[in-house]
Symmetry: D2
Subunit: 324 residues, 4 copies
Amino acid sequence: MRALAQANSGDAVGYGADPWTDKAAAALRAAFGAKGGVFFVFTGTAANVLGLSLLLRPYEAVICPETAHVNVDECGAIERILGNRLHTVATPDGKLTPGLVASRLGDRGDEHRAQPGVVAISQVTELGTCYTLAELKALREFCRAEELRLYVDGARLANAAAHLGCSLADLAAHADVLSFGGTKNGAVGAEAVVVMDAEPAASAPFLRKQQTQLASKMRYLAAQFLGLMEDELWLRNAGRANAMALRLADGVRDVPGVELCQAVESNAVFARLDPAHISRLLRDWQFYVWDPAGSVVRWMTAFDTPKPDIDAFIADVRRTSESG
Amino acid sequence: MRALAQANSGDAVGYGADPWTDKAAAALRAAFGAKGGVFFVFTGTAANVLGLSLLLRPYEAVICPETAHVNVDECGAIERILGNRLHTVATPDGKLTPGLVASRLGDRGDEHRAQPGVVAISQVTELGTCYTLAELKALREFCRAEELRLYVDGARLANAAAHLGCSLADLAAHADVLSFGGTKNGAVGAEAVVVMDAEPAASAPFLRKQQTQLASKMRYLAAQFLGLMEDELWLRNAGRANAMALRLADGVRDVPGVELCQAVESNAVFARLDPAHISRLLRDWQFYVWDPAGSVVRWMTAFDTPKPDIDAFIADVRRTSESG
Amino acid sequence: MRALAQANSGDAVGYGADPWTDKAAAALRAAFGAKGGVFFVFTGTAANVLGLSLLLRPYEAVICPETAHVNVDECGAIERILGNRLHTVATPDGKLTPGLVASRLGDRGDEHRAQPGVVAISQVTELGTCYTLAELKALREFCRAEELRLYVDGARLANAAAHLGCSLADLAAHADVLSFGGTKNGAVGAEAVVVMDAEPAASAPFLRKQQTQLASKMRYLAAQFLGLMEDELWLRNAGRANAMALRLADGVRDVPGVELCQAVESNAVFARLDPAHISRLLRDWQFYVWDPAGSVVRWMTAFDTPKPDIDAFIADVRRTSESG
Amino acid sequence: MRALAQANSGDAVGYGADPWTDKAAAALRAAFGAKGGVFFVFTGTAANVLGLSLLLRPYEAVICPETAHVNVDECGAIERILGNRLHTVATPDGKLTPGLVASRLGDRGDEHRAQPGVVAISQVTELGTCYTLAELKALREFCRAEELRLYVDGARLANAAAHLGCSLADLAAHADVLSFGGTKNGAVGAEAVVVMDAEPAASAPFLRKQQTQLASKMRYLAAQFLGLMEDELWLRNAGRANAMALRLADGVRDVPGVELCQAVESNAVFARLDPAHISRLLRDWQFYVWDPAGSVVRWMTAFDTPKPDIDAFIADVRRTSESG
């Protein structure tokens, strides 16, 4: 917010030809080691649509986990705006592996089938897990060998960097295009599409405008990233959110009737509980019930979740569990 | 073919305003009890695209079996041309049930999710099975109660009518829009989209043209259906194909190492065999290996498959099986 | 900006279920007399795409002036995201009339032609002119009689209301869907899509999400409109911008070699000048050269353009003109 | 038709892997000098959609004459199926020139504008005129210099070759992709998309299937072209149609009140007449009234138009004219 107020002083040229945008884009290009370019948009869905559109031909499909945001949570934006198909793969932990991708390559060369063109992963995944750098490297090498491009939905990339203790460039080294989320990490509403190579980046200005995402007052988007990049605020925010998730996980780990379903590697905790207990907790707290059966929940922490709230919540989980 | 030659004599007005088209459309409207209209197109994929486009809003999804032709065999035509998503459901036998459809209705009202709008089934299914009339009725009633429209991919609808011993109108009574396949039943290349009610039919001429399927010499498409409708040739052709499939199934049923995987209710036989035996059979015969593991095959019969070919094939399966 | 800072205090539920969004939407619904709903998006292009998508069937075309923003300045977003055609009409002043619309209705009922479905106008137009209320009424009545829907691109609707001295409801009375621009009237980046009737509004939440425009922190968009609606700031901003344009027009009206090309009815002045003079002015000032020949310019004023800047510019135009 | 009957004897593998398709495609590749490939589809609209889809990126526009079939007569198929915009240019005779194309290149590099990518011409044009080989060469060289690709809608390419006395290869030498129409030259319903280079051809099988145009019994499409290519039947048919148009033009040229509007360079005659005379002729003859004012007509001849019909029509035009 402080960054926003500074961008509001004085006039500026529209549509991104302003010093804020230049500076923010340069900062991100440097942090990611991106030779292509950085393009700001307003929402995570928009970032995924733009990012994938840079990598896809019209008859190609995107291989992604069944749980992927592009498959589940974007009201069919990929299909509507890009017209491409998703080839989904069931995963235990939200992560693709070379083997899982290979299982969807059988249709190659068959004109009756959309051709696999891009592998899309989320880092952090929708199940709160992280790919290790070794896993990313293996996936990328497999993709290269198979002439597949690799897209990373990084709505929570900051949380992955915080968890892995690596740089953004370490993560980006294994991708063709990534998004880098600001909104879930303290920004008002700003996402960046990071394009590693020059060739796909050349289309990005036109595709961003066509996809309704060119801000006339771009400096307000850029200012949010300038704020996040200053003194690595993005990393501190994400680290704090991750720490709160770990505190929460540790606090409920031994509560009878509570089972952690996924490794806690970001700012999300997935747990299995008695559906009756879930209902009781929902009276006082807001969180997402993950499965249709109503027995798995996703508890998210944020950069500004107060420690006392976590502790109060843990106490409530414990109390609910004990009350039978 | 004879029908085609007759359509070639003399001049005719273009784009369907000719007596052949009128007569063929009237014959199909009567046979299906369709109050909307009948629209000829060139391919099965085109029929599915046109049929679904009459029933979908832009933010809606199609609930269909994982095995559906629209999901597997049309190179993403629905996603590309219509921009709609498919919500796929795993099935044991290629058939949807009210319960399976219900399992995909959880997202209703959630703006992050494409909204279920149409249920698409195939009759005959891609696994060679048929919905009984009672099953169709139950599915339609469920759809009505849930404000879902019902589309039937009838590329092999004739084979279903032949198997069930029912009329086309009996099948159509439980659908909003159906396709009726000519190509797989002896025609050169002609499919009909049958629209039961007037309202969706009003858009069909424009959508057919936009979807590249308006024939300038429509009489050649119509003539193929006139040929099929004459003396119920469509039913005799389908009945003959079904009988050949049954003959084949009966012939291999007791061969050691051959397991029939699906009920034989049309012109398709699905069987599980030793992959090595499959390879050997493929040296002399053309058929489709169904699964990635290479142990399930689909054997199709046609209206003109000669009985001796069936018997020779049965003998070959038996010989291959015995050779170890 | 002040409004934004207030929205930043405290937590809030995501995706628009917050008190700011409720309050801002209610204020706009009341101001427009809209029975449908109000939907916030980030950009003017997004507002046009969403607004038109509520009114179009897939085989329909949009009748609009050749100069329309949707035709000229959105990188083909309508064609790409909606798949609909634009039927453009040449106009002297950026305004459609019943007669001009009628000239594009000849194709009705011809399946080879996209069918006119929506008339799209801009109020203020791209040439800075305004439709009078009587002109709007006549156009709407013609549309009703012809079963055409009417969309208003209101990126500068505030300037029209200020010029005409009428309410937003007066303008909205003659439309099916309008956009209401915040960005060009002082906001950071926020546009509203105002849907007059309930039926098209029902699709809007899903289409907005699908079109990548659902803000997770919607309160920041809403807060901008709350700020604009408070004490009619929107009207004062627009009135001030209009007054500066008039001051500019009056100041250059009698300069030899300067010809005003369009009525000055908003915050834009269109003038014809010697191309050499235009080049000289562009050294010190930023404005848009309108025509390929380089002899017509568009001078825009904003809510915060200082009077001295206007006067300095007038003096420069005069000096340039006299210098020969 | 004779060709069709031959293709009907015996079995054949589906989807184009048959000897007819191989032979027909080879014959066309040789005739056009095409290193890419030849792809059969069912309609002229489909040929244009497929042909353009091989050459366009998503943010690009097609520069074409206002009269182009893709602009006027395809119910918005390009916009719907490809999502690309058309940039139309007014022409006196249906023909683009380097100068006319250049007039639409002003937006290059501006992210608010769809970027010109392909120039689409028709040979024969929709006004019955032909580009000379020199005109084609000049246009192609201009396109190359401007990095634009050139598509030729050749629904009546045969008529152009007949008029110009040149080979198909002569015409193809100046294009990236062409269609070659069979339907308007005696075929039942078959068009070919001829791709000159290998790179765009690689996408064609998938795009054809996705665009609903893959024939399972491809041999029937191929057989039509085999028939047309045998002993240059395509050229004799087109030459005969052209000769009939010339006979018609010569017959009415000196009739008072009849003015030929376009050069007669194919099988079309455009004439201006008294609207009352047009109405009278329409009682007995079928032809297209070209302009909204009802004073320009298009008279088409076909490969099988009988000379006596032409002469009877000329006599009728003369009689109508004299009757006042």
